[in-house]
Amino acid sequence: MEWWKSFPAMDDLRLTEIKKAIDSGFLQFTRTYGVVIEDFFAPLKSFLIWSEKLAITTPWPIVVLVFSAIAYASTRSWRIALGTTVGFCLIGYLGMWEDAMKTVSMIFASTLVSIALGLPVGILMSRYKWLRVSVTPVLDVMQTMPTFVYLIPVVMLLGIGKVPGLIAVVIYALPPVIRLTDLGIRLVDAEVLEAADAFGSSPWQKLVKVQLPLALPTIMAGINQTIMMALAMVVVASMIGVQGLGQPVLKAIANQYFTLGLFNGLAIVAIAIIFDRISQAFGRRLQNVRGHEQ
């Protein structure tokens, strides 16, 4: 009755062998293709460097002004615009300007990459049911797999730095854009689509002139979630060499610097709130323009 009391597991030796085999297989793969993959991501790397440089070298008053203006333009609320100004000024005054800019540029880049990947995938998913059926579980894995687990192969492949950091962030933050693009397109009124068909729209015309515009508020909700999830990854990403507000937090944990951790944490929160309000208000305004809420 031994098997009844403890689970009849594979014997340790064979289990270790299997794990070793997989590990060495992957290692082999990284050795052979590491360079190729790195080259593949080279354009992404220069884009990341460029956007970080832009964020850091732009004089701070201009950055504050631009963000406050965007906040006002999208929300039409002086309160949020003022909050944005104050938030950024406080971050700068407390000595976190450069780190904050690095984080902002990282968020910007990973959001762009997520949209660039997520939008087409979402569109295709809405069109082909088999694709939706096969991509959905992948998205579930991306969202629920503990982040540290997929950091391992990413680091093995690409080492430590901006690109692996961005990939980790994108893996975590990509699913909402895909899901909500797919959903938004499928929610478009069948009668409106029928009218588009009746006038002889091609699939592309239908997508660009009808489906995407009508799905836009939903897609914006996805982008908002993506931005928030990317910000949530800032500290984790700093473990694999992404610079920004995450690194001081990491240092604070290691050395028990409470105030350092708190300040940088609050800076992340402030940026999150600002980005959230801006992108949400933008989505809402799109909806209002379409008259769903008037």
């Binding site: 409106v192 006038f199 091609s202 009508l214 769903h292």
Partner: protein, 364 residues
């Protein structure tokens, strides 16, 4: 562009997963009720045969669920038939490739939808240009046409509004302008005027009739309003449970309804506007009146002319002036009121007594 003839042959539409297998049953005569109870499929259309001449207005009437919308959607193949053919201007629409079908819809048809189906994110102007935009017409040209039709349906000044900012009737007129702007030889109108108030409705009917005088389009028009059907239709087809029970001229439908279902539709009709003198005149009798009226006048028009001339009877003439017979004022009034005058031959005997009313809608 002037019209194209439409020919519908042995058209069946069965909704449900196994339509392909079950269609043989429908073709061998299984009815809608049995199809639903025994096989859980909806037989929406059953052996529809309809010839619509080019440049004519074909009205389709029938109770809710009788298959009108399904039928009209077969003409531009928004719905694929389960079996049967739809020929437009000689081409079989059911055999067009995807690309040909797209071209056919762009060039040959325009549609007004029962539920408007406007593009909610586009302004009135951008909705109306949609068909031309899809065809690749230059923007200035699109707008020129669109503004003309927006004005014609009485929405001038609303170009920049969104559909959600308009009333139901205004939205429906946007749908109308959008279809007319496309300038297609075939117009498919699914309850296109149903949301309009009576005054605007009559105005829109006139738009359509005026249009027919200039450029004769082939129009398929679904309505629940008998007066509208009689005013617009060159022919009226009555659908019942997916079958055409009668298809004829307005006068045919009113004078000789095929069954009780059709009679129910025409019961409340304003006969004075449908019947012509030819149906009430006493043929061959000599006329003693100096007043001559042509046989194709409606009873209403004939009455008002006789009143104007203070005549109690009139001679009935053919359009080229040949004397056909005579008609008495009381004959016309009796026919209008559906009362029998009794004695004389040559007069239809009317069973019911109704009264002359302005407008009736068959409620369904």
């Amino acid at each position: 562009m002037s019209g194209l003839a439409i020919e519908i042959r042995h058209l069946y539409k069965l909704f449900g997963g196994k339509a392909g297998n079950l269609i043989a049953l429908a073709e061998s005569g299984l009815g809608r009720a049995e199809m639903l109870s025994a096989h859980n499929h909806v037989l929406a259309l059953s052996d529809i045969n309809l010839h619509i001449e080019s440049g004519r207005i074909q009205v389709i009437m029938g109770l809710s669920g009788s298959g009108k919308s399904t039928l009209i959607r077969h003409i531009n193949r928004l719905i694929d038939p389960t079996s049967g053919n739809v020929l437009v201007g000689g081409t079989d629409v059911t055999r067009l490739s995807v690309k040909e079908l797209r071209q056919f819809r762009r060039e040959a048809t325009a549609m007004v939808f029962q539920k408007f189906a406007l593009l909610p994110h586009r302004t009135v102007l951008d909705n109306v240009v949609y068909g031309l935009e899809i065809k690749g017409v230059a923007r200035a040209e699109q707008e020129r046409h669109a503004r003309k039709w927006i004005d014609r349906v009485g929405l001038g000044g609303y170009e920049r509004r969104l559909p959600s900012q308009l009333s139901g009737g205004m939205q429906q007129r946007v749908g109308l302008a959008r279809a007319l702007c496309n300038d297609a030889p075939i117009l498919l109108m699914d309850e296109a005027f149903s949301a309009l108030d009576p005054l605007i409705r009559v105005d829109m009917q006139s738009v359509l009739l005026d249009l027919q005088k200039e450029i004769r389009k082939t129009i398929v028009f679904i309505t629940h309003d008998l007066d509208e059907a009689l005013r617009l239709g060159d022919r009226i087809a009555i659908l019942k449970d997916g079958l055409i029970v009668q298809n004829g001229t307005p006068e045919d439908i009113v004078l000789t309804p095929a069954d009780d279902y059709v009679s129910a539709f025409v019961k409340e009709v304003n006969r004075g506007r449908v019947l012509t003198l030819s149906s009430v005149m006493r043929a061959g009798e000599p006329a003693q009146s100096p007043l001559g009226l042509t046989a194709d006048l409606t009873l209403e028009e004939a009455l008002s002319r006789m009143i104007a001339a203070d005549a109690s009877e009139a001679a009935v003439l053919s359009t080229d002036g040949v004397l056909l017979g005579r008609v008495r004022f009381t004959d016309i009034v009796a026919a209008t009121l559906r009362t029998s005058v009794g004695t004389d031959a040559g007069l239809p005997v009317f069973a019911h007594t109704g009264c002359l009313r302005g407008s009736h809608t068959v409620s369904v």
